[in-house]
Symmetry: C2
Subunit: 333 residues, 2 copies
């Protein structure tokens, strides 16, 4: 069935059924003018991220269910990067009138699957007509202590969660129409169904880690943003970058570049003293790797060093919308 | 300048400059992974609304500044309909790469103009590439007491703020290319720069009014939704509907229909006992008119009566996205 046959209000009822009853704290969920929930926290955290068809995804590469998961995941990642606890999501959906209703049911099922893992309520949204599929999710959460981009200090260690480059590698393979096997399946998964570092972000907040950012636009690009916000520089040690092993296997010489600039890894990058980083590393449920150091010179500038301390060229700085060299970008054209 | 020349991060800096310093409660505004603010309220309220080019607006009819105002206004209206106090807005923006940067500056100026009137902070957002202009604003606020759609009771009076039909009349004139004079200028204004009933919504909440909804999809359509949510019916008195005088002047026989089903008036409809409605009417800074009564029969059904109590035909029920008769709708094609 097409959405033009079911209509806006039929769609909202369908979404309401899939989402089910909200948690006890939610006073008003889907179906009123606004969502309402109880909160005793003093700090409220909110973020929004849009995914546009043929810009961020194509339905040939990503299933509806994966798209729903990912739309929620990218917002969870932003809340995690601030050290927040996610609470409620609002889903703003733009749809062509011939969009398949069963696909949209799967989209919501994908969102609900991830939402349940982190006790997040999908509490409202908006459905409108649009020329392509457009998904804008907003997420609201709470925090006791927040971790911004702006407090990194010279001599801080730079650490990252997880392994890098997998998402961009998966996207490259999807775009080239390559088949995935048991070695490369995690690359596809990293791109279409990223797992947000929600728990890890809260570990950062509980330990009052100085600065953090999520790696959505690429390691170098996002580290540059953190450096600019903190008025510091950074050096990265190329040989310490935790590249996903399957990226090495498939992309060989290109693997480092994918890990540095590929984007969409949704890992967390954070900085603090050696002692704090070591402590946090012990508490984290995922691998944590020290990959560099914050410096006092050249605010915003990231330098890449090889194992002999010699500077290496940085090819590109990560994903930017509207950038002139869009064709060269790892994201969908 | 086009956005492809300025780039995503240049745009974000431009928006940051226009928005300026956030209020004292805002700990982190535009420029980090998420926005953060302090809140001591126990109830949090959130809503989201998307405006899509050539669906909700065309830039030939609406200036960038008006579009910015309206994108914020429709969200303020939703928060008002719940009796909430607006606090922070997040702006998710999809843009073609040839979008004019000066236009976008005006868009933000329009948002800021309205935001300042209600002490709302534009605290974050997202900018992405898209095939048409897409604006999805989310707004978060607080409340001590909320007013839902679901608590209307039989024998409640039905009341509305302000005058109806002006927005749809203005849109009709814009689409027909008619010129506006001093009489009809308010019709254009009602469509492109609606004034949200934020203060009025808080009066409803303070007086613990039973049920409310904002009139975004048309009086009859939105009243039907309130009736369905409350499991009640309603009768409307046609001769009591407060039609904007300029709608009468220009649209004559069609005026009542525009007021009943035109949509986008962004007035508040609420229901309570005669005593409460009279009290609230005395406290409101705008006209309030009693236009009907909640009934116990036929849940969800709205009947229209003439001054002799005879039932009149209801032509259409209001705006719905993806509805088969889209061409007949007052909104942009």
């Amino acid at each position: 069935m097409k959405v033009s046959e079911l209509g806006e209000f039929g769609l909202i009822q369908l979404f309401q059924r899939i989402v089910g009853s909200p948690g006890d704290d939610v006073v008003v969920g889907i179906g009123d003018d606004a969502a309402v929930w109880r909160s005793n926290a003093t700090l409220q955290v909110a973020t929004t991220d849009a995914l546009i068809e043929n810009v961020h995804f194509t339905l040939g590469h990503t299933s509806w269910r994966e798209l729903g998961w990912k739309a929620l995941a990218v917002n969870l990642s932003d809340i995690a990067a601030m050290g927040g606890r996610p609470k409620c999501a609002l889903v703003s959906l733009g749809l062509p009138s011939d969009t398949d209703v069963e696909g949209l049911a799967e989209l919501y099922e994908g969102m609900v699957e991830l939402a349940r893992l982190f006790n997040v309520d999908i509490a409202g949204g908006d459905v409108v007509a649009a020329p392509v599929v457009m998904l804008s999710v907003s997420m609201v959460g709470t925090a006791d202590h927040i971790v911004t981009r702006a407090a990194a200090r010279p001599h801080d260690q730079i650490a990252v969660t997880g392994l890098l480059g997998a998402s961009a590698a998966g996207l490259h393979m999807l775009k080239k129409g390559l088949l995935f096997d048991s070695t490369t399946a995690p690359l596809r998964e990293a791109h279409v169904k990223p797992y947000p570092r929600s728990v890890e972000g809260q570990v950062l907040a509980e330990n009052e880690v100085r600065a953090a950012i999520d790696i959505s636009d690429g390691l170098v690009g996002d580290l540059s943003k953190l450096c600019k916000a903190s008025s510091v520089g950074a050096r990265l040690y190329a040989h310490q970058i935790p590249i996903h092993p399957a990226v090495h296997t498939v992309f060989k010489q290109e693997a480092l570049n994918l890990a540095l600039s590929g984007g969409e890894d949704y890992e967390l990058l954070f900085t603090d003293t050696m002692e704090v980083v070591a402590k946090v590393k012990g508490l984290m449920p995922c691998p944590v790797t020290v990959i560099g150091e914050i410096t006092s010179n050249e605010p915003g500038r990231v330098r890449l060093l090889d194992e002999n301390g010699n500077e290496m060229a940085l090819e590109r700085k990560g994903w930017e919308h509207f950038a002139p060299d869009d064709d060269d970008k790892p994201n969908e054209p």
